[in-house]
Symmetry: C2
Subunit: 352 residues, 2 copies
């Protein structure tokens, strides 16, 4: 049986799935659920949380939809592993600050996971590579139904699922898609699109989720409404909109290559050259230049590279992962040196 | 017999001589001489100039010190070839603007040359790779003596050689050395050195000579005084001072590697990465990054490269040479694209 250390010392398994294009990096759905018999985690205190954890852990590690998963309580996880889990979208900052009574159950491929006693008793999540929202919905719906058959969810016939924060009441669902749209950014066509998405009830955030900026030309698009709409409707709607954005981005790339082909080649080439040869790399610079490589891969300018290698690199260069690889805490400059070394060696391996 | 086109389609032969280090790129001496029987070129008009050219050409192409040389009159050279000759330090801007009656006689290795009817009737020049001022003086002195045995120079027993500009009267000699001092620039120790050189009668200029800035961390150091000092004294003095500057630069490099080794490696690595992969390269960027490579070669960080390859590259990326290679006039952006292509292919050849 694999342990947490082994899990965290390899990149998330689902990242290695090959995708046709790198415009849609991943699709993610999470459901907020609570048990009727307990106060919400924020009200119950450690005692109540421990009871919830004790109730849910045996069920979650036993459900058929998520076989052979790992379970861990927050007080058993060290700071570095928490950072790594956070960077893999498996725990939130909020959960990482909790201790006894809060925990994580995660499938070995890291596509399915459940946070216990974060803001809600359960935060069920499915991540898929590429644009696979419908599939993600089907998987999470099956997992949710299996859990629901064994516990009594806090559910109101009129409102739907009850959640700690009113913004989640109803479906308790947040569906989000990470898109990489460098051409729309380069042609300065992204702002009106973001504004338009806001008007139809979608939120747009940076790579790191809420409050983060769009490093590496990555944007996370998600639904905000959880009341008054069926899940499949929300998911289908988001799916269609993302497909439209993909078309916009493809179109922008075509125009970019026609009008400014040499500038794009230069941009991609310099990104590759610097990443392959730098000895100091900040996180922001690395993400921006990996964005250049993603564009290059999609345009066929970098034959040896694949989207999945870049997804893996995007993950491995983050502070938690770097420190996990080096097995110690590092200062900012040390991380920049370690990041450059890692990127150089990955790209050199591929060039061989 | 080689013709001008063949000559200009290969890099200057003396550039291919391997040097131990790249701190001193080249040593150059020129002598200003005039014929007693004629007005200075600026006063004589085309008629007189043509007489001078007719007098000097057979002598210069016949001297033993410069066997098998090419001679050409300015009105027979097209604009592009003039640019190339200028970039090779074989003609000055002033000579390139002249026509009939002005000309160039140049040895096939381009180390020895004579401009006829530039500011003076003769501007004799010797260029050597590395720090070879004494050797350059011996060679130019031999060439000058051979010419002097066959013509009557304008010479005053009290003043020395008479020249069109009073600043050259006396020895008529300008000795100069091109040095590459990136560590002194990076550590901000170059300014006091330049000031100090000024105080002892030496001039400091950029790569392109008078009025140019120090692109690529290259500086040209030359004597200003031509009166009251023996040539060997001036040359020996400059030689000693350049040796001191080389020691300063070596010392600065040592300190730089000790204190900021990773920054130097990053600087060198990025320069190599960008030059190997960019598709648009301005002249200034290219020179600055080639400076990074020179430093890398001298510090043993770039095993495949040699100083002579970088000297050659420094020459070939200049506008005239680029256009000569492409056999047509190019706009600025076209030159930047052509320059990037040339640099990429040269570095790729070496990496093989």
């Amino acid at each position: 049986m694999i342990d947490l250390d082994e899990l965290l010392n390899r990149p998330s398994a689902w990242l290695t799935v090959e995708k046709e294009s790198d415009i849609v990096v991943s699709s993610r759905i999470r459901l907020a659920r609570n048990l009727r018999a307990f106060h919400f985690p924020g009200w119950g205190g450690e005692e109540a949380c421990s009871q919830v954890w004790a109730t849910l852990k045996p069920i979650l590690t036993d459900v058929k939809a998520m076989p052979g998963c790992l379970s861990m309580e927050m007080n058993d996880i060290n700071q570095l592993d928490k950072m790594v889990l956070f960077e893999r979208h498996l725990i939130s900052r909020e959960l990482s600050e909790k201790g006894k009574g809060s925990g994580l159950v995660v499938a070995l491929d890291e596509q399915m996971s459940v946070m216990v006693n974060e803001e809600d008793h359960l935060r069920i999540q499915v991540i898929n590579p590429g644009l696979e929202l419908i599939e993600a919905w089907e998987r999470i719906d099956a997992l949710d139904s299996e859990i629901e058959a064994r516990v009594d969810y806090a559910y109101d016939p009129r409102l739907g699922y009850l959640t700690a924060c009113p913004s989640n009441v109803g479906t308790g669902m947040r569906a989000s898609v990470m898109v990489h749209v460098p051409a729309l950014v380069l042609l300065e066509e992204i702002s009106p699109i973001i504004k338009g998405l806001g008007k139809i009830g979608l939120a747009v955030r940076g790579l790191g989720g809420e409050g983060s900026d769009a490093s590496g030309n990555m944007f996370q698009i998600s639904n905000q409404i959880t009341l008054g709409e069926e899940e499949m409707q929300v998911v289908g709607n988001l799916h269609e909109i993302v497909r439209e954005i993909v078309e916009h981005e493809k179109n922008a790339r075509k125009r970019l290559m026609q009008k400014k082909g040499i500038i794009v080649r230069d941009h991609v080439g310099r990104a590759y050259g610097i990443l392959s040869n730098a000895h100091i790399l900040s996180s922001k610079d690395a993400l921006d230049m990996i964005s250049g490589l993603r564009l290059g891969v999609d345009l066929g300018l970098l034959p040896g590279l694949t989207p999945s290698v870049l997804d893996e690199l995007t993950l491995l260069i983050r502070p938690g992962h770097l420190q996990k690889i080096e097995t110690k805490l590092l200062k900012v400059r040390e991380r920049d040196v370690s990041r450059a070394k890692l990127v150089r060696s990955k790209l050199a391996d591929i060039a061989k």
